[in-house]
């Protein structure tokens, strides 16, 4: 599905170069359910942004379905994000002035080609599946955190992506609700074969995935210490 070859990403803090991701080689196969585990500042979020094409690597290649995507232009990158990847964030990142349904529909507004499905039907079906269809006309700040994260997952799924990238999806939730969210993601992987990558610093969250990658100081390590 996606392959990283010698990928590095550095930032400049003043004159000082900081390597957030340092020469990582990584392959994520289709239909995997995978956890990227690292402490804060380990570079795991940057790694996720690179996989999700939200950032471009400083060096190295990223191959998506065999195609090098590390040097694509904004329009092509946006298209890949729109079609192939769905993001789920720690702080939900819903737009508060839009209703739940409108938030779920947001990615469909940016499709440059006609959609092979009816957006509203698709969005409502997803909301129903996650048990929040009666909340569809609510604004995000009027529903609970668990419900907001379900809306975010529905939004991530609306375009039928091949891969879901979840950055600390349970970070703002209590453990029970967090477990429910992980189970939803697990269900999606099992039922529809969606590739799911969960980035987390919590061992017990990572433990629910089928494969774990440990990150420390921007590099993959064999064992998380």
């Amino acid at each position: 599905m996606i392959k990283l070859e010698n990928v590095s990403k550095s930032y400049y803090l003043g004159d000082e170069e900081v390597k957030a991701v340092d020469n990582i080689n990584l392959t994520i196969k289709e239909k995997e359910f995978i956890g990227i585990l690292g402490s804060s500042g380990s570079g795991k979020s940057t790694l996720m942004h690179l996989i999700g094409l939200l950032e471009q690597p400083t060096s190295g290649r990223i191959l998506l379905e065999g195609k090098d995507v590390s040097q694509l232009k904004d329009i092509e990158l946006s298209k890949v994000r729109n079609r192939k990847v769905g993001f789920v964030f720690q702080s939900f990142n819903l737009i508060n002035r839009f209703t739940v349904l409108e938030n779920v529909l947001l990615p469909t507004k940016y499709s440059k080609e006609p959609l092979p499905f009816d957006p509203v039907t698709r969005a409502e079906e997803l909301l129903r599946r996650f048990g929040i269809s009666e909340r569809k006309s609510f604004f995000p700040n009027k529903i609970s955190g668990g419900q907001q994260q379900r809306v975010a997952i529905a939004r991530a799924l609306v375009m039928h992506p091949k891969m879901i990238l979840a950055d600390e999806p349970t970070g703002n939730l209590d453990s029970k609700t967090g477990d429910e969210i992980i189970n939803i993601l697990k269900g999606l992987n099992k039922e529809f074969g969606v590739t799911v990558v969960i980035v987390t610093h919590e061992h017990d969250v990572a433990a629910k995935t089928y494969r774990q990658i440990y990150i420390k100081d921007g590099q993959t390590v064999d064992k998380y210490l």
Partner: protein, 405 residues
Amino acid sequence: MKLRNGWLHLVKTALEDFKRNKVRTLLTSLGIMIGVLSVVLLIALGLGLKNYIKGQFESLGANLIIIFPGNISGSEDGGGVANFGSGFAGGAKFDEKDYLNLTRISEADYVAPMYMKSSIVESTTDKKIGSIMGTNEDAFKLMNIEIEEGSVFDKNDVQSRNKNGVLGNNIAEQLFGSPSDAVGNIVRVDDLRIRIIGVAKKKGDREMDNALIIPYRTTFASLNPDKTFFAIYLGTTNEDNVPVVKEKAKDILLKRYKKDEFSVTEQTEILSTVNQIFTIVNAILVAIGSISLIVGGIGIMNIMYATVTERTKEVGIRRAVGATEIDILRQFLTESLLLSLFGGILGLIIASLIVLGIRAFFPASLNLLAVVISFVVSSAIGIFFGVFPARRAAKLPPIEAIRYE
């Protein structure tokens, strides 16, 4: 379908934001509103006044030479516009002697002195403001005044100071109901009782249609104790005689007045002077109005920068779900465009209402040009001043934007 959907989403997003920030939206578009309002209004007033004055002159007969006091056209030194202000104020005060001297020009077929004053004209039942014109029988020929009912006064009426008058069509209808009812009736002006012997046909000229034309000697009683005239009109039936008449008139007047105390002008010269003046005045007024448009545009830019900052996180979210830089640019441009257009339309509506309101007593007219200008200018301002904030939003790095709190 897809494109329409995209624009619908953009417009809907913008309108929803306006709804949430009603006061801010209104205040932001206020600048554009005032700008468009003033520009449209100035054009309407300027064009209206220009057409009105043009119409006044054009309704006069052809081959008309008008002698005014003061240096109005400045045809001698070419400073027409510059001298206009000092025109009527200084200079000669024509009297009956000047008029009689001018009648001796053999090439001038018609010579008419002209006394003018706005005054209240009363019938037994009603009263209206009319323009009192004291002149002679030649004036009807000079100014193409045709009679609908009754007749005009003659030379004898002028000589004998008879209190016979001809009413304009509008004022006759307003005072007496119809032109035919007016003839034979009496109107009062100051302490004069004038018998209406004729009513003129409608000319479509406010001044002439509300005129009361009486023999100039009749005005000498109480209306015009100085026995002076505002102007003297000369006319020839043969166009070729116009230069001769002008020369002779100048020679006659120079015996009593200095060169710059009067001006002898043809109708066409006056028209071009009026045109020149109004073109300049209009340009200045529109330039002043444009300043408020620019200030309004800066207001929009300011608010759009604030909006971009406020929605940094939203931009990040949209970028994450697949919005391109151009999508983001378009979103903010739509917003500033709508904001500006909203102000422009509001300004146009208010300007139209004002024009409708003052139409009764001022010849203002709205034209297509004003409407087109309001739309084009406000769209252009919305886009021009919106493009900088929109570019800033589009260039935000997605990751930094999404982390913005």
